[in-house]
Amino acid sequence: MKGLFVKKKAAHPEQDDAELLKVLKALPVFENLDRRELAAVLRILHEREYQPDEVVFREEEPGMGMYIIQKGRVMIRSEKGNLLLAELGDGAFFGEISLLDASPRSATVIAKEKSRIFGFFQPDLYGLIERNPTAGVKIVLGLSRLVCERLRQTNKRAYDFNEALQQMRQAPKQEKPA
């Protein structure tokens, strides 16, 4: 009950902030922000603490934004095939595409161990764009670069698959005369 209304004070808040700023600066989304802009981002982040096996979000639920793991480990699972897609640890991030289009979540994320995760959400990003357009544009550009990179990788993968498919189609034809 006490924890509901009394804000838990960090043992070393300044050290915590400095650590988090370091984590943020390392992320491609925030890499172009200066210290002041990063501090503005820090002010709108939502700190959450997850216990082992606690769900962060579920597949198909509306996506509101991205999460940054400061400390801990999470599992990314596909509920459809009950597949473990990935495991992410300290300094990693997930759900960033929801910052742009608020699409439904493509997987379920569950904390594997006690994790300290920061949420950065679309409404807060919109607010930041209005209040601090320079920082907002830098973040959106960072996100765009990230999406471009993913698109390039996906294109390359699609090209490779296509090549493999062509080879598979041609293989029986070459084998026939033999």
Binding site: L4, H46, E54, V55, F57, M64, G119, F121, P123, G127
Partner: protein, 346 residues
């Protein structure tokens, strides 16, 4: 299925209970009114604060600028408007009427005596009745102001300060509110707050611009037509316009009656009716389409019921605030249900 054994659900229920208790406690005292007005003002002025922030002014500085501007406006208002308002209220509470009014009343009384005598109105003295009505109505306003003088002064000081802190700490308050929400309902709450913020922001700002525009135009129009007490009737019309359906009538009819009574001429009432018709057209064709981008549709019966409840609980202010507050509650319920459907709480 949501079960009460689930710690997250219990925490959420506890939070909801606490919120309901706070709302109930606030509703008992007059602080609820001040808090609601301060909240509405903070909400309405938020885009202005954001624009200032975009120009490099800190949120605290922006809130301070707004507080100082509001204080200056209140002081200017007290110095300039209050004496005129006082003279008009004293005139109203004295119950005196002009010679033209007396003549009009005499004519009307003659009609009543000859045509409606069989209804038992033959001996009615309309002049005395009007003087009594005006005196009691004016006295009620004066009594309200005198008896609640401390309350008015307290509100004039408290509301701008409450508004200042609500603007300055808006982000912190929002974050603090979301912080106590359990992890499972965290994104849902954020989504809900964002949707409500969008809908309500547009609605309240639109209503505010609409009320100020109509109030200003009505004051200018009534002043130009020479209707007495226009300083009271104009702003009242603007505020009454907040109430859908009945608002324009509530604002227009008292002005028409006063114009007829003071001029002793029905055409004066016709001019006022034309003015309010023009205002209604301007409101429907120009002001509302420009200002009220998002409307919260409320059933006429619901509007009437909330006005009666608001009026009974908090008087005139309660009546005027009842529609925006009902709009707020409707948005909260509608958005909660819609957002809840998208999440899979188990």
């Amino acid at each position: 299925m949501i079960t009460f054994r689930d710690p997250s659900t219990r925490k959420m229920l506890l939070l909801l209970t606490a919120l309901v208790l706070i709302v109930l406690l606030c509703a008992i005292g007059g602080i609820a009114q001040m808090l609601i007005i301060a909240l509405l003002l903070a909400y309405i002025l938020d885009p202005l604060v954001i624009r200032m922030e975009a120009r490099g002014i800190s949120r605290t500085a922006a809130a301070t600028i707004i507080l100082l501007t509001m204080t200056a406006l209140i002081v200017i208002g007290i110095i300039t408007v209050v004496p005129a308002l006082k003279a008009q209220m004293v005139g109203m509470s004295s119950g005196e009427s002009s010679a033209k009014t007396d003549l009009a009343l005499a004519n009307l009384q003659e009609v009543v005596r000859t045509k409606m005598g069989w209804l038992g109105f033959g001996d009615i003295d309309l002049k005395v009745k009007l003087a009594e009505f005006k005196a009691s109505f004016g006295k009620r306003i004066v009594d309200f102001i005198v008896s609640d003088f401390v309350g008015i002064v307290l509100a004039l000081v408290t509301i701008p300060f409450l508004m200042f802190f609500l603007i300055k700490d808006a982000l912190t308050l929002k974050k603090g509110l979301i912080r106590i929400v359990p992890n499972r309902y965290f994104e849902f709450s954020l989504d809900l707050i964002h949707k409500m913020d969008q809908q309500l922001g547009n609605y309240l700002r639109g209503q505010f611009i609409d009320a100020v525009s109509i109030g200003t135009l009505a004051t200018i129009g009534l002043g130009a037509l020479g209707v007495p007490y226009f300083f009271l009737l104009g702003p009242f019309s603007g505020l009454a316009n907040l109430i859908p359906y009945v608002g324009p009538f509530a604002g227009g009819i008292p002005s028409m009656i006063i114009a007829v009574m003071e001029n002793g001429d029905l055409s004066a009432g016709g001019n006022v009716a034309l003015l309010f018709l023009g205002l209604k057209l301007a409101d429907d064709l120009c002001i509302q389409p420009l200002s009220v981008s998002s409307s919260v549709h409320l059933h006429p019966a619901l509007v009437l019921a909330t006005c009666i409840i608001g009026g009974n609980l908090f008087g005139l202010i309660g009546m005027l605030l009842s529609v925006p507050v009902t709009g707020f509650i409707k948005v909260v319920i509608t958005e909660s249900v819609q957002t809840l459907k998208a999440y899979r709480f188990s």
